[in-house]
Amino acid sequence: MLSYILSRLVALLASLAVASVVIFVMIEMVPGDPAAFMLGLNAAPDTVAALRAELGLGGSPVERYLRWVTGMVQGDFGISYTYQVPVAELVAARLMVSLPLAVMALLLSTLIALPVGLYAASRRGRAGDWSVMGITQLGIAIPNFWFAMILVVIFAIQLRWFSAGGFPGWDAGVLACLKALILPAVALALPQASILARVMRSAVLEVLDQDYIRTARAKGLSHRRTLTDHAFRNALIPVLTIIGLQFSFLIAGAIIIENVFFLPGLGRLVFQGITQRDLIVVESVVMLLVFAVILVNFMVDIAYGIADPRLRRQ
């Protein structure tokens, strides 16, 4: 088991190394000079040069890459060009918004999707199944930015139950923060929950076709108990894969949603970073996001082992 984890870790590090090169090259290709952007239109060339030196934009690409990577390994992500604060600090602060949002959306979608999928499977071909399938189809088809807009119009502008966006900060109280994240999390979770519910349904149906379900029934388990005691855990395995894959979609979706709800999260930071040519922030955030996805998939692999004893001894 130890050597298995070690080999997985080596693979993980290799992926990260390749990813860092890819990211660096992409960022290098982005046109536009951060210093020029920061100083505006009628800045003198020598002012721009002075700022370039101050920002550490000199040196060959290889040098800069090595500087970036060695810095990252030591936990130093550089200083944001625009904000003039350490990127690590900036990212940590944004993470305090994005991470709870992602977790909330993930929890929300999972908690809704799994029972709903199970229910639909158990009502296969009947009205309950049909309506769940119809609603989830719709849930997948609705663009989440459009859905977010509708949510805002209804719950913030008309009903005034929630604020239209923004984030009070954790020192304003956990409840206030969770409240601020509810609408964005719902907007993010809707398509995810729809996809997940469908995956869950078909996974359960697949499992229900298995011989051991018939065995369970022959043992005298009721239909319902067969579903919860036998089908659920087995169906979880394909569902886990999808949850892992969705994490990356969740991050992408969060970028737009964070903009709609003007949440100070990582997505908005990276979006802003690109338009303001704060490339050092973009680099680090993209790296972080890639790392997060790789890490989540790594954890999904381990979760497999827990859900499926067949994978434990590898």
Binding site: G32, M38, G40, A50, V152, V153, F262
Partner: protein, 495 residues
């Protein structure tokens, strides 16, 4: 012109808010002000972004002089000043008892430090040109500063009112970008990057006490989100409100007050005068006649904006209305194009992000198509626009709002991105620099306005309006934007 100041969004935001001081009732002493863009840092002397001034100008930092809501310049840290007869030596007497937020006293040494720092070789001040005329800054005594210019400059007092000319202290300047220390009535209590800046009342303020105890600038870039936040009551005032199309709705709602004011932003169809077809004045003139200004103002700005015929603000007393020379006349445009042998040409139209440019661009493209000019629209971010258009001059047409006050002088620079090179015009500006007689200045300015209008240098569209929304109970916000600022010193709630 600075990049940020050309952005209407920024510009619009550059609302100044001076309010008549009013004693707020116990009810409410805090305000949340919406801004479209977040300042990259909080040091107005080290960054170009308009958003910096919009947070700190008059609130956190003060200069020797300052703008007021009506655009006039008034004394600030300088109690009074005298000017030598030759117009070269300025002597400022400072207010006594002024303290920085860190408790240290503000004196002449600080003034000298601030101005010398701004004009130094390695200065990263975005408006270095404001200070290039200074020959020396001398401390006469702790409360007196003498500034010597190399040439007389009628606008020097105004220059000192800019946000880039505020007074800072050498002890605290290193941290100014994130923890600014000024002399203003508010201190920066907290900056949640990406979300908001919080200000708190400075109890030791030297001037008149302000009504507000707490002010929050909240950054919402998306117009839809701005609309929603305003409607939901998350924001009390949005001086540079980015969605003019929704203003009638706010107007009809008694909870809100809509403010429409003027800005220094001439919005123009910038034309590359050295580009293949566009070096021909007939084609530029044809473009001018192809454009229907009112349609653009209605379509892009939902009616907010004043048509202009030259590069000059209509509210300026020296303004000449030259729109008649470039009336909407498609037949004339077609005839001119035929004459120039330029039927069926295609021009690039590169548009920066603000909605006046994006929407206006679509309308202009359709209007040009009417007379037979094809366009290839390319939407750019500011960074790309700066690189390709402003620095690279790789464009035919672009739309941008030039928001600096009195910036007609840019036409005298043949290397400026629209590459207008007229000895005639350069002569006028030279004369203007030397002229001090108001009547002479006026006639020179008017001649300059006519010159560029007659040369059809750019397509002159409209003067950007400043549209804002606020809770109806808020008093003392600036309606116009003589400079980028959200002056909260006079803001209060009525009950």
């Amino acid at each position: 012109m600075t990049l940020h100041r050309t952005a209407p969004a920024w510009l619009a935001l550059a609302a100044a808010t001076i309010m008549g001081a009013q004693t707020a009732l116990a009810a409410q002493t805090s305000i949340t002000v919406g801004m479209q863009l977040e300042p990259p840092n909080l040091d107005p002397t080290g960054g170009a972004a308009a958003a910096i001034d919009e947070v700190v100008y008059a609130n956190v930092f003060e200069g020797l002089t300052r703008y007021r809501a009506d655009g006039s310049v008034a004394p600030a840290l300088a109690k009074s000043w005298t000017i030598s007869d030759d117009g070269l030596v300025y002597s400022f007497t400072l207010h006594s008892g002024v303290k920085f937020h860190d408790g240290s006293a503000m004196d002449a040494e600080d003034v000298k430090f601030s101005l010398d720092r701004a004009r130094a070789e390695d200065s990263t001040n975005a408006q270095k040109r404001l200070f290039t005329g200074i020959a020396s800054v001398d401390v006469v005594d702790p409360m007196t500063v003498k500034i010597t210019l190399s040439n007389p400059d009628g606008g020097f007092i105004t220059n000192l009112a800019w946000g880039d000319a505020v007074i800072v202290a050498p002890e605290s300047i290193d941290a100014a970008k994130t923890a600014p220390v000024g002399t203003g009535p508010f201190t920066v209590s907290r900056w949640v990057q990406g979300d908001r800046v919080e200000l708190a009342r400075n109890p030791d303020y030297w001037g008149d006490a302000v009504a507000l105890e707490k002010a929050t600038f909240k950054f919402i870039s998306d117009p839809t989100a701005a609309f929603a936040a305003m409607m939901a009551g998350d924001i009390d005032a949005f001086p540079g409100y980015p969605a003019p199309e929704t203003l009638p709705q706010f107007d009809a709602d008694p909870r809100f007050r809509v403010m429409v004011g003027s800005t220094e932003g001439e919005t123009i169809l910038s034309t590359n005068n050295k580009a293949e077809h566009l070096s021909d004045i007939r084609i530029r003139q044809a473009i001018a006649h192809a454009i229907d200004r009112q349609a653009i103002i209605d379509g892009a700005m939902f009616g907010f904006g004043t048509p202009i015929g030259t590069h000059f603000a209509p509210h300026n007393p020296d303004y000449v209305d030259l729109t008649g020379g470039s009336m909407h006349d498609p037949d004339r445009a077609r005839a001119l194009l035929k004459e120039a042998g330029a039927e069926n040409i295609t021009l690039s139209l590169k548009l920066p992000p603000p909605s006046y440019a994006r929407r206006g661009g679509e309308i202009i493209a359709a209007q040009l198509r009417e007379v037979g000019i094809g366009t290839e629209i390319e939407n750019l971010e500011w960074a790309q626009w700066l690189e390709q258009v402003f620095r690279g001059k790789d464009f035919d047409l672009t739309i941008v709002s030039h928001t600096e006050p009195m910036d007609i002088g840019i036409y005298a620079n043949p290397d400026y991105y629209f590459q207008y090179d007229s000895a005639d015009f350069q002569g006028l500006i030279n004369d203007l620099k030397l002229a001090s007689d108001p009547a002479e200045r006026k006639s020179l300015l008017q001649a300059a306005q006519r010159r560029i209008a007659d040369d059809y240098v750019n397509g002159y569209l409209f003067q950007l309006a400043r549209t804002g929304v606020a809770n109806a109970k808020i008093n003392g916000l600036w309606e116009n934007a003589p400079t980028q600022a959200n002056d909260l010193t006079g803001v209060s709630w009525s009950d």
